[in-house]
């Protein structure tokens, strides 16, 4: 019997929201506030949030900027004939300028979308469809977000050839691989800036230079990077960049795509309609969300350095305390070349999902942000050459602007306690301690 499988099916049951009574949240809240002083029950407590790569809380300053557009100022920003339209349009354009400013672009180069998923689709399919008669080869990596990989897969089924570059053990691509993959048919290179699972930062400067030299368009999915690390589309020779609102303390359901104007990058729209956003993205721009993204970018531009310093300090504290107190910890991805707010670790002989269940006081994820419902081992970890068991035992710690030192210390404390407990119950750990090489064991079933 495969122990692995059994425990996986058990953990998937334990991870169901019913166990936590999450679907009763509001009812419970109401009854809690109506209890009289006589009941000395311990109050329900919420877990800490260390999953900021999945989504971030909305910064109160962002909400404050959005509220007027959810209340008094509801005009359609595309209405040309009255003040309601003009005031909304002004707000949208100011937001566009804040986004552009954060990445060193011109406001005219920013297209509002519904998020990074749409931006990635628009960039990849849009460029491919516009130029499909001229060139039909696209280069990407094996560790991209699903929406990039699936867009490429779609184009592959429609006559494009795609190269999925491998990454080194560090999580970084080999630039020589990129150079040798480029041929005369290569239209587009799409490589993410910061990986959402392991946090590694690709050498965007160098990739941009290679693409420009070879006259190939360069798209980067910067959903996890914008507002976290300094980016400049000019100096980095980026032609298209995807941005997501809810990864930088803005609202969900809004994003942006930077599309270079000089030298011009042509993109075919995905949807037909009123021709808003210079015809690239029809549909009324949601003013309040656009204002939210603009405000988030404005704050990020001011706070980037401060946030980065603070997050680095917390990240170092987390990594040091865990590695000092727990043996056999593997940090996935090259720390030196990663965004410090994303720490991905594997604990030998401890299954990630079991640890997540044990660490129920902390909201963590076992890897991928958006598809964490699946218990498949991560394709990103496989791509960096992690052994299957380690790919199963990974946990991602997300540290953000609102994380506190006390939260890090609490997390470390619980991690030490539960990793130890789970290892004490693990026959594999016992074997490892006895010096038996686990890989040499013949398993009857995988």
């Amino acid at each position: 019997m495969s122990l692995n499988k059994l425990s996986r099916s058990l953990t998937s049951k334990f991870l169901s929201p019913h166990l936590y009574g999450l679907n009763n949240n509001f009812k419970r809240d109401a009854s809690a506030s109506s209890t009289d002083g006589s009941s000395k029950k311990t109050p329900q407590l919420r877990p800490l949030y260390l999953d900021v790569q999945a989504t971030s809380p909305i910064d109160p300053r962002v909400l404050d900027a959005m509220l007027p557009y959810m209340t008094s100022y509801y005009g359609n920003p595309h209405s040309r004939t009255h003040a309601y339209g003009w005031e909304s349009e002004k707000a949208v354009e100011e937001s566009r300028a804040h986004i552009a400013n954060l990445i060193g672009a011109d406001p005219k180069e920013i297209v509002f979308t519904s998020g990074a998923t749409e931006s990635n689709n628009l960039a990849i399919k849009g460029v491919a469809n516009f130029y499909k008669d001229k060139r039909n080869h696209i280069i990407t990596t094996q560790i991209e977000h699903k929406c990039v990989l699936d867009s490429c897969r779609y184009l592959e089924n429609n006559g494009f050839s795609i190269t999925y570059l491998p990454v080194q053990q560090s999580g970084i691509i080999d630039l020589k691989d990129l150079e040798s993959a480029i041929n005369k048919d290569t239209l587009l290179v799409s490589i993410m800036t910061v990986n959402n699972e392991i946090g590694v930062i690709q050498p965007i400067n160098e990739i941009g230079a290679i693409c420009r030299k070879n006259k190939v368009f360069f798209h980067t999915d910067a959903a996890q990077a914008v507002g976290k690390i300094p980016l400049n589309v000019e100096s980095m020779n980026i032609d298209l960049m995807s941005i997501s609102g809810h990864k930088l303390y803005g609202p969900k359901g809004i994003g942006a795509l930077f599309v270079r104007r000089r030298p011009r990058v042509r993109v075919e729209a995905l949807q037909s309609g009123g021709g808003q956003e210079r015809g690239l993205r029809s549909g009324t721009v949601p003013t309040l969300l656009a204002v939210g993204l603009g405000s988030a970018c404005k704050i990020a531009a001011q706070e980037l350095e401060y946030d980065h310093q603070y997050i680095s300090k917390l990240s170092e504290r987390l990594v040091n305390k865990i590695t000092e107190n727990i043996p056999e910890v593997i940090i996935n991805g090259d720390r030196e070349r990663s965004y410090p707010g994303c720490v991905n670790m594997s604990f030998s002989c401890v299954e990630g999902e079991s640890l997540l269940v044990a660490l129920k006081e902390i909201s963590l994820s076992s890897g991928s942000a958006c598809t964490s419902a699946s218990l498949e081992p991560s394709y990103v970890l496989r791509a960096i050459g992690a052994e299957e068991d380690l790919a199963h035992s990974s946990i991602r710690f997300g540290i953000g602007r609102f994380t506190t030192e006390a939260e890090i210390d609490f997390t470390v404390e619980r991690c030490i306690q539960h990793v130890q407990r789970l290892r004490d119950m693990s026959p594999l750990w016992e074997m490892l301690q006895d010096g038996i090489d686990i890989k040499s064991i013949q398993w009857t079933q995988h």
């Binding site: 809240d29 109050p43 407590l45 109160p60 602007r401 609102f402 506190t404 939260e407």
Partner: protein, 101 residues
């Protein structure tokens, strides 16, 4: 620099801190306190009058923002965090230093 400025800055600083403590949300409260202190310390030696009045303007609009947000966010309180209980004493201490001053 006007002779009122130092006391004005001090009172703004205190009001910003006091308003920050009103967030029920642990993370927003901690961030706000940390950020107010940081910005204040960073600019404590600034004596360029136009910069000072700019900073005062920013602090005033931040104070308005905090006042609105502390109220609005507290309408939608979630349960306290698992580590919130540890913090209560310290926060109360902070509140009382201000209310007594």
């Amino acid at each position: 620099m006007s002779s009122h400025t130092p006391s004005k800055v001090r009172s703004l600083y205190k009001m910003l801190l006091r308003e920050s403590t009103k967030f029920h949300n642990y993370n927003f409260k901690e961030y706000s306190l940390r950020k107010v202190r940081h910005d204040f310390r960073k600019n404590i030696n600034c004596n360029d009058p136009s910069r000072v009045s700019q900073l005062i303007g920013e602090a005033e609009s931040n104070l308005q923002m905090l006042r609105r947000q502390a109220v609005i966010q507290n309408f939608y309180k979630a349960e306290p965090l698992v580590i919130d209980t540890r913090k209560t004493n310290k926060d109360n201490g902070l509140e009382s230093t201000f209310s007594s001053s």
